[in-house]
């Protein structure tokens, strides 16, 4: 009996988590940027809007020429009706002994296939 209750709670938690990423564009952008830094092809492909699918290889390999790429201080919030997400923080990567920084900015998102998708930079 207790096991069933735990399973049910787990299922509920899982569904609640799914809901957050699907309904909150800021979460979708954070997931996208995280995948971009690590080169997570499946996540990038799923969260890249249809208008930009031709750029998938660029997105997957974006930071493959540098090492130790990681996000620092990422904080994304939706703006207005949610079609724009503004992020703070930066991507930091190493090349040899030196570091390069890529500040995060504002991104378009598009609602497609029942979830928010990243759709490039904007003002």
């Amino acid at each position: 009996m207790a096991a069933r209750v735990l399973a049910a709670l787990f299922l509920f938690s899982f569904l609640a988590a799914c809901d957050q990423s699907m309904s909150d564009p800021a979460v979708a952008v954070e997931r996208y940027l995280t995948a971009k830094v690590t080169g997570g092809r499946q996540t990038l492909q799923r969260l890249l809007c249809s208008a930009m699918q031709d750029e998938i290889e660029r997105e997957v390999r974006s930071f493959s020429g540098v090492s130790q790429a990681h996000l620092e201080g990422m904080d994304c919030r939706k703006d207005g009706d949610g079609s724009i997400v503004r992020c703070r923080g930066k991507i930091v990567a190493a090349y040899g002994t030196e570091q390069s920084e890529f500040p995060l900015g504002a991104y378009r998102v598009a609602w497609e296939d029942g979830e928010w998708k990243w759709c490039g930079e904007t003002r």
Partner: protein
């Protein structure tokens, strides 16, 4: 009874969770936002059959370290003819005939690549004729610009995330940003060291970059690299040569020159070039260091394009 109640509760929770997940209170009604600044990839020119004038301020048969210059500075008549049209188009667009840009990775970073020709001191020695091209493009040599980045590979050229947000527009690629800011007539392109193992992607991106420059009326000069990161196949340099030949754009075949140098003119890391701090081409080591030969051949390439394509000198 308790069991039935528990299942009922779970069922309600499940349905509620599904409902929340599949509806979206903030979803816009309009169509998905299209990408704003997709980069045009089509070239605007067809090769021309017009006859170019006779070429070469450098004597035929001249060589560097035993390598014929015309194998390093590759600018055949058909390319000159086509590039003249590109140059004229660029002039109509308002490009600056006295400016060039560069795009590439750490191998063309300041201060070792060309910068001294703006900043002094340097001594051209037997290559004093090149002073004219230095005078003409004064200001471009020490300017690293917005399209040189450590670790840059060919696909990042069109990735707005790699562009400097202080100078570049949102969703503007680093090459678009550089050409908008500098309005050059020539862009030196040195890529490939970071594109190991993805030759198809490298070729596709390089062609896209060349087409983009041509469409902006900017003469793209493709440079080969000294390293052999891909192994003996040297495939990325072969791709650069092929793209230059097929697109009929100038080829600065530095790899060909570097073959004559100890360790290809590279430092211990096998990528970056050996130093030539002196910038004095009367010294015996001038043509035996990576940067010494790199800078000299780059100047020669600029000189040829300026004289033959832009009617300089």
């Amino acid at each position: 009874m308790n069991r039935k109640l528990l299942f009922l509760l779970l069922f309600i929770l499940f349905v509620a969770a599904l409902f929340v997940a599949l509806t979206n209170p903030g979803a816009p009604a309009r169509a998905p936002t299209a990408r704003g600044a997709a980069t045009p990839a089509s070239a605007i020119m067809a090769p021309t059959a017009s006859q170019p004038r006779a070429t070469a301020n450098l004597p035929a048969g001249e060589s560097l370290n035993g390598v014929p210059l015309d194998e390093i500075i590759v600018l055949p008549p058909a390319v000159i003819a086509q590039m003249r049209q590109v140059y004229q188009l660029g002039q109509a667009f308002g490009n600056d005939s006295r400016a060039f840009s560069r795009i590439g990775d750490s191998t063309i970073e300041n201060p070792h690549f060309l910068a001294r020709f703006d900043e002094s001191p340097y001594n051209l020695g037997p290559y004093a004729d090149l002073q004219e091209v230095i005078d003409h493009f004064q200001g471009s040599f020490a300017r690293q610009g917005l399209a040189v980045q450590r670790g840059l590979h060919s696909w990042s050229v069109f990735d707005p995330m790699w562009a400097d947000p202080l100078y570049c527009e949102p969703d503007e690629s680093l090459i678009a940003c550089e050409l908008r800011e500098q309005r050059p007539s020539i862009v030196l392109i040195r890529l490939g060291s970071n594109d190991v193992g993805v030759p198809e992607s490298f070729e596709k991106n390089l062609r896209r970059l060349v087409d983009y420059a041509l469409a902006q009326g900017v003469i793209p000069v493709l440079g080969t690299k000294a390293d052999r990161n891909e192994g003996e196949s040297n495939i990325n340099n072969e791709i650069i040569r092929r793209v230059a030949a097929e697109s009929q754009v100038p080829l600065w075949d530095f790899d060909r020159a570097a073959q004559a140098l100890p360790d290809h003119g590279l430092r211990e890391d096998g990528v970056h070039m050996s130093y030539f701090y002196e910038h004095d081409y009367t010294l015996p080591n001038a043509l035996l260091t990576g940067h010494g030969l790199h800078n000299l051949t780059a100047l020669m390439m600029l000189d040829r394009v300026w004289r033959e394509v832009m009617d300089g000198g």
